[in-house]
Symmetry: C2
Subunit: 315 residues, 2 copies
């Protein structure tokens, strides 16, 4: 939240006024003053009077820290800089309102997701990230040295989640980092990412999809109800760039189920090069998403494509 502070030349002494006036953009100021209602704007007769706004009438102030001028990355001004400059000055980049809003939204998504899982009886665990052997297939592991021993970074909490579930915790989740030494550069291949990992006992695939869609529905509903102000900040920036606004559309449940066999047909009909039994790659998903643009599941994969912990589906 921002509030305007007004420093009047006739209220503070001259040298203090000059000093504060020399503040650069993004300098840190400390001010003391009185909160006052702003003079209301004049409105045409019959128009509603807008809610009152407030400001601080400053009686004393000082500069705590001066900022460099010019800044390497503009914070309130629109400056076009490359990603490398932004990352080299990430502390300033994150101060840009729309970037900051995205980090705040990210924090909310973690909170709502976790809240929902706890409400469905899932308990939080933390699994080791330094592991002695592979959890899922063994490819794409980052090797490391654990003192004199060869070790790896964990790709997934999979085996630890299952251990906890078999251990009688019944429903567990972990939200934490996972590491995959993927050389591909797509949005489905990341070297380090934060995953929502969920595991439950006595669930079939419909139960599992139910947990996921209810969690996503809860997150979207909460963002839609509570966090529109943050979305608005992002959209102000997007408008300044001539981009369409993002909207939070709470998905309706249940999400469509597109069984693997149907998904293969959709990809084929959309001109994709795929055969039954193949993996569905991200460019295939784009073809499916053209027909099913919202959240959807692709269940009922050939058992030959599944890692060992998945039992055959008898339906």
């Amino acid at each position: 939240m921002a509030i305007q502070a007004v420093l009047q030349r006739d209220i503070v002494d001259e040298s203090r006024f000059e000093s504060v006036q020399s503040a650069t953009r993004e300098a840190w100021l400390q001010v003391t003053g009185k909160v006052a209602k702003k003079r209301p704007p004049s409105v045409a007769e019959g128009e509603p009077i807008p809610p009152p706004e407030f400001e601080v009438n400053v009686v004393s102030g000082a500069i705590l820290a001066m900022a460099a001028a010019p800044l390497p990355v503009g914070v309130t001004d629109e400056v076009n800089v490359g990603l490398d400059v932004r990352l080299d000055n990430r502390h300033l980049d994150v101060r840009r309102a729309h970037v900051n809003a995205m980090f705040q939204l990210r924090s909310k998504v973690l909170q709502y997701g976790r809240e929902h899982l706890i409400s469905e009886g899932f308990q939080e665990i933390n699994s080791p990230k330094i592991i002695a052997a592979a959890a899922e297939g063994g490819t794409n592991l980052f090797p490391m040295k654990y003192f004199e021993t060869d070790a790896y970074l964990s790709q997934s909490p999979q085996l630890y989640k299952q251990l906890a579930v078999l251990g009688g915790l019944e429903r567990v989740f972990e939200i934490g980092p996972a590491f995959r030494a993927e050389k591909h550069d797509t949005y489905r291949h990341l070297n380090e990412f934060v995953s929502f990992d969920i595991e439950g006992a006595w669930m079939d695939d419909d139960d599992v999809m139910g947990v996921q869609e209810r969690m996503i529905h809860h997150i979207w509903s909460c963002v839609s109800s509570n966090d529109q102000a943050l979305i608005d900040v992002v959209n102000e920036y997007r408008a300044s760039q001539g981009k369409e606004p993002v909207t939070v559309e709470v998905p309706s449940m249940p999400f469509p189920r597109i069984p693997y066999c149907d998904a293969i047909e959709i990809v084929k009909q959309g001109g994709g090069d795929i055969e039954w039994g193949d993996d569905i790659e991200s460019h295939h998903c784009d073809i499916i998403a053209a027909k099913h643009p919202g959240f959807h599941f692709i269940p009922r994969w050939p058992i030959a494509r599944k890692p060992f912990p998945i039992p055959p589906n008898e339906k």
Copy 2:
């Protein structure tokens, strides 16, 4: 929660009865039946009648999965096994009621701690765990290879938290793994651990201690109010081992502040070998804890012992 299921020979057919009766300990059974009130126990005249208990009167049942017999680790029986056997059979070890209760309590502690930080306006972040340079001093880093580049596992989210705070998030936290290649074997030296990391702007040491003591107070209060049943399970086990019960004593606030200078005096008076300017080691802490057995802070350290992000305290 456990409930008793009763299978009567005259209700199910003979072969089904024999089959279910052959179930080993920890086998998984599926039963169908009616929930019924148990016959109340006979009480002496004038004694209060205990609340009703329930059981399931089984009409059909089947074994879903048989367990090995004997089990490598007893689950309901008291079996003394070494730590190596417990860890090799951790899925069974966690099924022991008191071990399971500790994992449940751990999940609650994470939940209450996070809830409290969110209530004080802290936002959750996730910092990278694969890093290019050291955050705190550079010793005790686990080296790894990030493809062809030398990299390390993160010791602490310190610099990333500060970046987020400077970036205008103002109050942030992360609950996640940290990695330290410590060869010592004490409870203050761990190679991989989950840390509650908290950072805020415009706070002095009193503000920081306030955040910590309020969070710990909230966690202890919630466990005390909500989770006594889990503590009781742990204490049942401890009683069976002839050990004192653990109690959840909600600490009163503020926690004692023992400034560094006073702490050094306490250690000296307690016979510890220490001089002003030295680090306070864990065996020194034991001497301090004998005088201040509850939670306490040791603020006001010599600035020479502090890493670079800490400003001098002018008080």
